[in-house]
């Protein structure tokens, strides 16, 4: 018997974790890797804004307003003579900040509430789900605009109103996943070894509900960027003199007939960022699907 065992080739100890395989799979997805590159570049721009921006975003030059592209100001200047390129570089910080913080906040709330609803069931579940149903009745932008107006203008209130709306989607996804996962044999096995419900939730249920959340997060970041731009465009988001893509778009819109670049470039940036995050989301979804089928399909 021993020589039979010995003949078994020792498998390479490359125990790839599910997370690692996911990262590799996304890297192989063509659109997702484009999205990753774009997001990486935008993050770099946001981080290095003071080094990259040729001018201060607040420095006015009233003798040189709405100049159009020139060697000194590659994208031209705005209506009070500030360098547009510098303002858009600093605006990247606002957009990514709102996108990421707004999404993380809504995901944190949504995942917690969804776990509670799925785990407790019964009346708690019914109440939470009816609340999320109620939110579904509002068009998102209208709700967020109303919230921003009620809370007052400002970037933090944009984030807050986005999270107030966004958690419902995450809660619904997680709750559905919990209902699915908690019936699986390994959860029963965990109960049978005397694990407490809280620990089962944390160790066995939560990690297996996260796949669709990862997808939702990347798409939600894009959505949050879009919402920030929209709210800032309408004047309720960032306040002057802070620069944001939506704000620049709004100001540029006024001068669209004389200096079209002023509104086109911020618009393109918004579209680019949103598309990049959606590509990543698509790639994640494609990468996660077959793994889930492999893990849960055979029974």
């Amino acid at each position: 018997m021993s020589e039979v065992v010995g003949a078994t080739p020792a498998r390479p100890a490359a125990g790839r974790s599910p997370l690692m395989s996911l990262v590799l799979a996304v890297g192989r997805h063509r659109l997702a890797s484009v999205g990753l590159v774009v997001v990486a570049l935008l993050s770099l721009v946001a981080l290095l804004a003071p080094l990259l921006a040729p001018y201060s975003p607040y420095e006015q030059d009233l003798y040189n307003v709405l100049s159009g592209p020139s060697p000194a100001h590659w994208l031209g200047t705005d209506n009070v003579g500030r360098d547009l390129l510098s303002r858009l570089i600093y605006g990247t910080r606002i957009s990514l900040f709102v996108g990421i913080v707004g999404t993380l906040l809504s995901a944190a709330v949504g995942v917690t509430v969804g776990l509670i609803a799925g785990a407790r069931g019964g009346l708690v579940d019914a109440i939470i789900m009816r609340i999320t149903d109620a939110f579904l009745c509002f068009p998102p932008l209208i709700f967020i605009l109303a919230m921003s107006a009620a809370l007052g203008p400002g970037i933090h209130n944009v984030i807050l109103s986005f999270a107030l709306f966004g958690w419902t989607g995450f809660a619904r996804i997680i709750r559905g996943q919990v209902l699915l996962v908690r019936e699986l044999p390994y959860v029963e096995a965990a109960r049978s070894i005397g694990m407490s419900p809280l620990r089962i939730m944390w160790r066995h249920i939560l990690p297996n509900t996260l796949a669709p959340i990862i997808v939702a997060v990347s798409i939600s970041i894009g959505l949050a960027i879009l919402v920030e731009s929209g709210v800032s465009f309408l004047g309720l988001g960032v306040q002057p003199p802070t620069a944001s893509w939506g704000k620049e778009l709004r100001v540029g819109f006024t001068y669209i007939e004389t200096v079209p670049l002023f509104s086109i470039v911020p618009g393109l940036l918004i579209a680019l960022a949103v598309i990049a995050f959606n590509f990543i989301g698509d790639g994640l979804r494609d990468a996660l699907d077959p793994r889930l089928r492999g893990a849960m399909g055979r029974s």
Partner: protein, 324 residues
């Protein structure tokens, strides 16, 4: 010697859309130290529900334990509080389930999962639990255990996963292992290896095993005693030897006739049991087996037969067979 585990008049019901199903209908048995007791019956006869109910693992809803006692170590497990029953689960009484492919969590390594009971009940640190898991995987014959400890379940074959589940069940050296169809999904050679492992656990640690199966071959080879279950009741309880030598209940006789035997003349045909298992929503009055029973009398259709002794530690619930 008092039994290590006493199950008394266990009743489990499931509430379904069409009504209440009584899956376990007054099952009683004892499990002694170092013995293998088999619960045998067809799918849906209540054998798995019995095992789950013992550790209060019946999902509620839809299931509910309606009555009975499960006495273990001076404690009625059905009345124990949550902390008490969790201290028993996986520690004093371990379970091995029938789905090796899905009983391990895909996102944690084998080592983390096999060592989990030790961390829960022995308060071992993670490195200590993993070191212990390597030894446990070795005892269940997983080759290169120390190299495979960081593998994820999808890197293990079905037989290896079931062995990992067994290692997990044995981790705390429990008094009782409940093995619910532990080898159903596996091929025959792997089945034998795994059951030998369980048998070894009995011989070395005096573990008691409740073996739930529909495989009469497995029962003949491994079990000391057998309870045959039909429609949520024990219909015949005997030592394995007595059951095979003198099967008494018509259902047991039918079961044994429907399995091929090597010592049977090849010309003899197998005799299936006629009819279908009863609809659990609409159990027949009297003996639940009477519609399929060749010996049924008027009394069988009226009154359910009690379990009566027909020999030394041999009990049968049958009006006809009990008369001799």
């Amino acid at each position: 010697m008092t039994a290590r585990l006493q199950v008394r008049d266990l009743v489990v019901e499931y509430r379904t859309r069409d009504g209440v199903v009584r899956a376990v209908n007054g099952i009683s048995f004892d499990l002694h130290r170092g013995e293998i007791l088999a619960l045998v019956g067809e799918s849906g006869c209540g054998k798995s529900a019995t095992a789950l109910a013992m550790l209060r693992l019946i999902p509620d809803p839809p299931g509910r334990i309606v009555g009975g006692e499960v006495l273990f170590d001076g404690l009625d497990l059905l009345k124990a509080d949550d902390a008490q029953i969790r201290a028993v689960r996986g520690n004093r009484i371990a379970m091995i389930f029938q789905e090796p492919m899905t009983s391990l969590n895909p996102v944690h390594t084998i080592g983390d999962q096999v060592g989990e009971p030790l961390r829960l009940h022995r308060r071992l640190t993670r490195p200590a639990a993993i070191a212990r898991s390597i030894a446990l995987l070795g005892t269940v014959n997983i080759p290169h255990a120390e190299a495979r400890i960081g593998d994820y379940p999808h890197q293990f074959s079905g037989g290896m996963r079931q062995r990992a589940m067994m290692a997990m069940g044995m981790a705390c050296v429990p008094d009782i292992i409940v093995a619910d169809e532990p080898t159903t999904a596996l091929d025959v050679t792997v089945q034998a290896q795994l059951l030998d492992l369980l048998k070894h656990q009995v011989d070395t640690h005096g573990t008691s095993i409740l073996l739930i199966t529909h495989n009469l071959g497995v029962v003949a080879r491994y079990a000391d005693r057998v309870n045959v279950i039909y429609a949520g009741r024990v219909v015949e309880a005997a030592s394995a030897d007595a059951l095979y030598a003198r099967p008494t209940h018509p259902y047991t006789i039918g079961l044994l006739r429907s399995v091929p035997r090597l010592d049977q003349p090849a010309t003899e045909t197998l005799a299936p049991i006629e009819g279908q298992p009863p609809d659990p929503l609409d159990l027949p009055a009297g003996c639940p087996f009477h519609p399929r029973c060749p010996l049924a009398t008027a009394q069988c259709r009226r009154e359910p037969p009690p379990l009566r002794a027909v020999g030394d530690a041999h009990h049968v619930a049958c009006w006809v067979a009990a008369h001799g």
